[in-house]
Amino acid sequence: MSAYIKAISYHLPEKIFSNEDFFKTFPSAIEQKDNYLRIGVKNRHIVDANHTASDLGVKAGLALFKEHNINPKEIDFLLFCSLEFDYHFPSSCSIIQEKLNLPSSCGATDYNLGCSGYVYGLGLAKGLIESLGMKNVLLITSSTLSKKIHAKDKSNRFIFGDAAAATLISSRKETGLGSFVLGTDGKQAEKIIIKDGAGRNPISENSYKEIEDETGNITSNAHLHMEGTGVFYFGLKTIPAMIKELLEKEKLKLEDVDLFIFHQANLFLISTVCSKLNIPDTKVFNYMENVGNTVSSSIPITLYQAMKDGKAKAGQKILLAGFGVGLSWGATIIEL
């Protein structure tokens, strides 16, 4: 039996932070407006302060059950991917299991990953289905990163949006999830980091001290720090190499892939990677304009929209590629 993606749904918080709001908040950014627009975001959804990543995840799960008429009692395993959890323990998956009315026979675990997290989750689900014989794995990805972005951090406030996605991975005879390439480079751990507030560095007065980078962006050690140029360099170096390795594993040529869906980090990065690999625009589907970079949910949201638009169809070979915090990366080829 092969694991395959049976259904996807997603949930966006109601509150919208538009480009109009952004340029009102940061009038100094107006002279760089054209450059900001090259990132590809117009609106992002922002979670309320009293809602957590698990709350968004539950809403995405409920949307999945309703939209695709799925019985929660049939779920064998729940994977919850996020960078934000409700408590030190128990895992947020326990909270979600209860709220989604999943059976107590359902195994559940959290894992802490960002933009590579969806591909990792598909890999884990494939293992659970093809090695342990499970039938239905629910993968929930959720991000509320807006809470951890410094109010004066204009770059990251422009890019990121909150969202959650729920994906049901089931088993069938025909091929579904193909080979995987996964990787980690802990030497670059500090390229995307929140330094203070967990085990290594408890929150102190210094945690909130403003730190300004060379482009005038402000953050603190208690907030998200992302070294944009370093991450861009990582993307240009890692994504093409990971795609080549995956194609070799699958014994495919680049032309054999019908559709490419990248983690929606920044459309400028995606177009640079595509021109480097000679991937035609017609084979790339992006969906960032109205949601921003939604971390681990960006690939399932984009795949959902590609299916809705008729761009992603059964019988096609679709390549998914994620990359981000860790630094970490993952790619796979799927058939719907």
């Binding site: 760089q32 054209d34 450059n35 482009t215 070294e227 861009f232 240009l236 400028f268 990065l269 640079t272």
Partner: protein, 78 residues
Amino acid sequence: MINIEEFTKGLEVEFEDVEPGTLNPDTNFRNIKGWSSMHALIIIAYIDANYNALLNGADLKSAQTIGDLYKITEEKLK
């Protein structure tokens, strides 16, 4: 081999928001009007796409002028 005039002109085109003829090898690229982190990404992408050399954050930090970027690129191609 690459040539510094073409390198500068090419970068000017990539920047889009810079008036033609404003940049020269001595221009401190951080003083470009409206300099932002996006310009840094454009520099990395431009050099990678046109000269097949990948500059990292430290390379960029060590450079002040467009001439410096040209020299770093030249070094990487050796």
